[in-house]
């Protein structure tokens, strides 16, 4: 699971570069990654995985994006925008840019809404993965019960 979490997101970023110009496919691939990740997390919980493991691995898998976001924001606050940090952040969130671009094209203060969302995306993915660890299995069980009970 750890290897999957860390390597699969990097693979997703690389694949997204070759899907430039195919926003529909990008959406499908990114959504597929999310669903498969959540499925694996739910499966790991069902098989006795402790919370610390997905917590730590989820954090590690999004660490590059979190660091890039922090560095980007830090340099902005210092008044010297860092091109490298911005570039790494942009690359890191590229698989989910079709989602981020659904946000209104506005600026909040001096910053683009998409940039602000991009800074939070690594954290959001981490939190979503932890949420999936807790929620996916009960959700699947509820659905299975509903299906089995069926119309009387």
């Amino acid at each position: 699971m750890g290897r999957y979490l860390c390597d699969s997101y990097i693979a997703l970023v690389v694949v997204s570069l070759f899907l430039i110009g195919h926003e529909g496919l990008e959406l499908i691939v990114a959504s597929g990654w999310l669903l498969s990740t959540w499925g694996i997390l739910a499966y790991s919980r069902q098989h006795g995985s402790q919370i610390w493991r997905p917590f730590l691995l989820g954090l590690l898998s999004q660490l590059p994006g979190m660091v890039a976001a922090l560095v980007s924001l830090w340099f902005l606050e210092a008044g010297h925008p860092n091109e490298l940090a911005n570039g790494v952040l942009e690359l890191w969130v590229n698989p989910f840019m079709p989602f981020l671009e659904l946000l209104p094209a506005v600026r909040i203060g001096q910053w683009s809404a998409v940039y602000i969302a991009a800074c939070f995306l690594p954290i959001a993915l981490f939190v979503a993965n932890i949420g999936a660890y807790y929620l996916c299995r009960p959700s699947v069980e509820i659905c299975m019960k509903l299906v089995k009970s069926g119309p009387e």
Partner: protein, 179 residues
Amino acid sequence: MQSRTLEFLHVVSKEIMRGHLNGTFQGRPTRADFSELKPGDILLCHNHNGGYGYWTHAVLYLGDNRILDANDFVKGTEIRRVEEYRNYDEVEVLRADISEDTRKYIVQCALEDKDKPYDLFGGLNDQRSEYCSKLVWQVYSRQGILLCPPHVWVVPDDLSKSARLSQIAHWTSDAEIGS
């Protein structure tokens, strides 16, 4: 498409390893005179050590000393003062042979792109985000003017080779080359 993507990524990643991307301004502004610019004119800007070609930036002149610029992931597409574009090592002005009405429509169309997010990895058919040369290309293509073939990426060098554009002026940090 994939071969151009690979080639482009190879060039950019190689240059990034050397710290080159948008180039580095050498510190001596050009003596560019922007008084003769017309709305719809395209400015190409060059700084040394760019990572994706000779020309490192492309912007669109809107008139009234305003430029529409899609260069910043933090700020998105924004309007800036034309005087700021003296701070490049080299600046060139390109102009399309179009009517005044078309120029007006180009500017109106371009203003709709203000505040759109910057995305260097957005395809040409993605209308929700911009980068510098894509903005220029899209604005003209909406008027039916194809400045260059629609590759996966359009870079400023592609615009400089466009048969639809003529060079109007060219300044370096040493002197005006010609008009």
